[in-house]
């Protein structure tokens, strides 16, 4: 329960910090950190426009997308506190529930019969597919390292001892940040600020959403960021008391947000054609982690 509350709280200001960081690095003052959330609330109060081409799929898709993120958040533990949903192999559940959300957001986009939205849908499906093996190899490696297969048990029994394990922690954090960037369609892969539909990924998929649905999708994205931030934070909050854990959690989330902001300010987006290769290289990072784990376990003779 605690993890759910913390993540929802973080989601309120996470995107605000990202935007604020971007503003500051580009020499502007920028809006307050709760501005994105205020935008979402404003959207929730607005009326909606639906395309005549769309069917009920378009109407249920945002809700299912949002529900899938909530469900995925329920799986994530916080320090020594289990998530609400926890069982052996729950990270598979986590990934697959998110995939269901993605399934619906994709068919929601295809439902409009637009000539652009399918493009974004196609890219989203391709990129998330390519990112999937990296996540599974990462979690599989930790399962090997700790001997457990649920998020909660993996994180509680994860302890950093040797130099290699620190290296692994850093690598894992990198992979998770990158996966978070891909899943949320952020900078190196997708530029949320672009104004050309042809080069968009996520933005073009939600072109036709408006009102409450758009608010749900945007809030869902914020929650997703907080969720990945929580995953990263869990690497560090293992065995501390609850207050310190909460503090570490918030610090990690804020650092993560600032990092996203800096990354978006100082890097250009990749060429669309090279994204696939880039995303797939993440898998090789994961394999590096796996080999590192094998090294620690002494399985290499």
């Amino acid at each position: 329960m605690l993890s759910l509350v913390l993540m929802v709280v973080t989601s309120l200001f996470f995107m605000g910090i990202v935007i604020r960081t971007k503003s500051i690095t580009s020499g502007r003052k920028g809006p307050g950190i709760f501005q994105p959330m205020k935008d979402v609330i404003r959207l929730w109060k607005k009326g909606a426009v639906f395309s005549r081409t769309t069917s009920f799929i378009f109407q249920i898709a945002p809700s299912i997308y949002f529900a899938s993120i909530i469900m995925a958040i329920l799986v994530i533990p916080f320090g020594q506190y289990k998530g609400i949903v926890s069982f052996d192999g729950d990270f598979v559940f986590f990934a697959y529930v998110l995939a269901l959300g993605k399934f619906f957001s994709i068919i929601g986009a295809l439902d409009t019969g637009s000539s652009f939205e399918g493009m974004g849908a196609s890219r989203e499906a391709l990129y998330s597919m390519l990112a999937e093996p990296a996540f599974f190899i990462l979690m599989g490696s930790f399962a090997l390292y700790t001997g457990h297969t649920s998020f909660y048990e993996i994180f509680t029994s994860l302890h950093f001892g040797s130099y290699i394990s620190y290296a692994l922690g850093i690598l894992a954090t990198f992979v998770l940040i990158m996966i978070a960037m891909i899943e949320n369609s952020r900078m190196p892969v997708d530029d949320p600020k672009t104004h050309l539909e042809l080069t968009m990924v996520h933005e073009v998929m939600i072109l036709d959403n408006s009102g409450f649905d758009l608010g749900l999708i945007l809030f869902g994205t914020n929650l997703k960021f907080a969720m990945y931030g929580a995953l990263i934070a869990n690497f560090f909050t293992g065995s501390f008391s609850i207050l310190i854990s909460i503090l570490i959690f918030l610090v990690v989330q804020i650092l993560f947000a600032i990092m996203v902001g800096i990354l978006e300010s100082f890097s250009a987006r990749f060429r669309m054609g090279n994204n696939a290769q880039f995303i797939f290289t993440l898998t090789s990072f994961s394999i590096l982690i796996f080999f590192g784990v094998l090294l620690i376990m002494g399985k290499f003779v």
């Binding site: 005549r52 995939a99 269901l100 295809l110 409009t112 499906a125 599974f136 090997l144 696939a276 994961s286």
Partner: protein, 666 residues
């Protein structure tokens, strides 16, 4: 009634059916045949259920001198498959009532079709029961032949016949391998009883004989590179037949492999690793091909290949577990294979039925000609969507249950065994995730292109929702799928019992250690329900808030362009284009078109065709058959069409036999 008579009556019903069905008028014909299918299902399911919960059925049929006594045995494994066959055939026949209505005019053809359907069902059932090599082969052959004739129902179409011949040839290649395998055992052990195979494995090198059986059964199952009949036969067959074929006939290949695998005594690791690797390749290859094609039945056929890969991975895991004496791995592997067999037979037949409804209404299998069908056929669209979610292995449906089981198997395998196997397991884990991602792409493409957006072409008649006869079996399947998704612990414990009873008595499994697994399944089911509740809750909340504000209807936002037309819609092909470009070394696109020359001044109509080639079929089998044909062409003079020459050949043969026996040469 006695089990013996119950089983025998299934054969009698077929006999009655073959005589009755042709006599009846078209309308009653289909109902009668459905009733007969139901009767067969009941008579064979009763002993199967008995076998599943305790008492295996076993008796001997009197055979001839050649055959000896024919053992007929229903153990838990057979029972599991018998129940799946009956369920799928029942649904198929029920769906067929509605689907075949349009063909009511072709009376003779229809009689043949329904009689064959009965033979088909019973031969499949008997394949699962007979444990005598020769009798097994006869049932196996009857199954192949009857399904062949079911496939070529629309025999006036060239493509259908071609697919049928392709199917026939490949099935007989499979039978040839099986025959070799059985004869091999017979020469070594002197018995046609299946127990002889296990005896053979006890004393000899296991891998070669297993390879022969694996090829024989693998052709039926569709393991890469033995899969090439599937993408031809499934699109050609009527949809209820595709559903049943993909749902169960392919699974009988799996049945054979599991049956033989359970008898293996040594070389388990080697065989297990090989099966796992082949299965993973099968999975990736199948779904990758599925994602690029535009014929939706062909896509589903390739998707069947993918699912066979997942089932095979379970079998591989089982054998690896057996090799390491790791009970956990063994049981998880086999139970995931069995559960996925059930799951796949459910959602694949559902999908085939749903696209069958689409085909019946639109007469097109080309998804690029369709679109927006959700408005005319909303129920079919929902049914297809449910099937698509299930086949992608997404919660809260049944596909997720078997996938999470197999993931748990891989995760268990990672930390219980050594370096090589850890690496193998983690790569399989990643590949399975990759397959999951690909199937998401495939099915969003299929659903999005066929059912969503605007119609891409004007159809001759406006499609309407299909009759209740065709929808009812699909709803029935969906109900079972949800029951597996929400209460997986029940189905899982049944598979545990199957596995328990299939293990040799010396090697009984302690079911106690699986209590955590059952709780796990229970949890998964509970969380699936929770997810569904959450989902509905959020949707209701959203509806409440949306209704508070004004809602307007408008055109799709054209990004500033004010005159968009239907042909500007995103197509299925472009949806998967970036993927196929990325992996073009596996899914090669063959294009045919004429470049516009600089000297061409006046426009004229041009043609552009492109299709995706099957890597194995094009690069290996086509090449091999081409070479073979070139060589065999030299012997064409033998078959010259002159009757006189054929008579001479006959005389030569008789003389040869005569002198051969005369001089004791033969």
């Amino acid at each position: 009634m006695d089990n013996f008579w119950l089983i025998m009556s299934s054969a009698i019903i077929v006999g009655v059916g073959i005589f009755c069905i042709p006599m009846l008028p078209a309308k009653i014909k289909v109902f009668t045949s459905f009733l007969l299918v139901l009767l067969v299902a009941i008579t064979t399911s009763i002993p199967a259920v008995n076998a599943l919960f305790g008492t295996p059925v076993e008796f001997f049929l009197p055979g001839s001198v050649l055959f000896g006594e024919i053992p007929l045995r229903i153990d838990a494994l057979s029972a599991w498959f018998i129940l799946i066959i009956n369920l799928t055939c029942l649904n198929g026949a029920f769906y067929g009532i509605g689907y075949m209505k349009t063909y009511n005019a072709q009376k003779a053809n229809l009689s043949l079709h329904w009689s064959l359907f009965l033979i088909f069902q019973v031969s499949m059932l008997w394949v699962c029961m007979l444990q005598h090599s020769l009798a097994f082969l006869i049932a196996w052959e009857m199954m192949s032949l009857s399904s062949l004739f079911l496939v070529i129902f629309e025999h006036n179409k060239k493509d259908t016949l071609k697919a049928g011949i392709n199917y026939m040839v490949q099935m007989h290649l499979g039978v040839a391998f099986l025959t070799v395998g059985f004869i091999w055992v017979y020469f070594a052990q002197g018995s046609f009883n299946f127990i002889a195979i296990s005896d053979y494995f006890g004393t000899n090198f296991n891998a070669w004989l297993f390879l022969v059986f694996f090829v024989g059964f693998g052709i039926k199952a569709g393991f890469v590179p033995l899969h090439s009949w599937l993408p031809h036969a499934h699109p050609a067959a009527p949809s209820h037949i595709s559903g049943v074929m993909s749902g169960v006939i392919v699974k009988l290949g799996i049945y054979g492999i599991i049956r033989v695998a359970l008898m293996l005594q040594s070389e388990l690791l080697l065989i297990g690793e090989s099966i796992l690797i082949i299965s993973i390749i099968t999975g990736i290859f199948g779904i990758l091909n599925a994602s690029v094609h535009r014929d939706f039945k062909k896509m589903l056929a390739y998707c069947t290949i993918e699912n066979i890969g997942i089932i095979g991975a379970g079998i591989g895991l089982f054998l690896i577990g057996a090799g390491f004496n790791n009970t956990m791995l063994m049981v998880i592997g086999l139970s995931s294979a069995l559960l996925h067999t059930l799951n796949h037979s459910l959602f694949k037949s559902l999908l085939f039925f749903a696209v069958g409804s689409v085909y019946q209404q639109t007469h097109s299998r080309d998804m690029e000609k369709l679109g927006g069908l959700i408005r005319q056929m909303p129920q079919t669209a929902i049914l297809f969507l449910i099937g698509a979610i299930a086949i992608g292995g997404l919660p809260p449906l049944n596909g997720f249950i078997s996938e999470i089981l197999i993931y748990n198997g891989f995760l268990n395998g990672i930390h219980t065994i050594g370096l090589t196997h850890s690496t193998l397991m983690i790569l399989s884990l990643a590949s399975l995730a990759f397959i999951g991602g690909l199937s998401l792409l495939t099915f969003t493409k299929m659903f999005g292109t066929v059912f969503l957006g605007n119609p891409r072409q004007l159809l001759k008649n406006t499609p309407t929702e299909v009759s209740l006869w065709m929808r009812a079996p699909q709803y029935f399947i969906v109900a079972i799928m949800f029951s597996i998704g929400f209460f997986p612990q029940f189905y899982f414990s049944v598979t545990l019992q199957v596995i328990q009873s299939m293990m040799p008595i010396s090697n009984l499994i302690d079911l106690e250690i699986f209590t955590p697994m059952i709780t796990l399944m229970e949890n998964v089911g509970r969380y699936s329900i929770l997810f569904l509740v959450l989902l509905i809750g959020i949707f209701l909340l959203r509806n409440y808030f949306v209704k508070l504000q004004p809602i307007t209807q408008n055109n799709t936002w054209g990004c500033g362009y004010v005159a968009p037309n239907i042909s500007m819609q995103y197509t299925g092909k472009s949806y998967s284009k970036s993927l196929s470009k990325l992996l073009s070394f596996i899914v090669k696109e063959n294009k045919k078109y004429m470049e516009i020359e600089t000297s061409d001044i006046f426009p004229e109509s041009r043609k552009h065709t492109s299709h995706y080639a099957d890597f194995f079929e094009d690069n290996i089998f086509e090449q091999a058959t081409k070479r073979l044909l070139r060589g065999l062409n030299y012997f064409q003079f033998i078959q010259n069409g002159k009757v006189q020459m054929y008579v001479v050949y006959g005389i030569f043969f008789i003389l040869l036999v005569f002198f051969g026996t005369l001089f004791n040469l033969i």
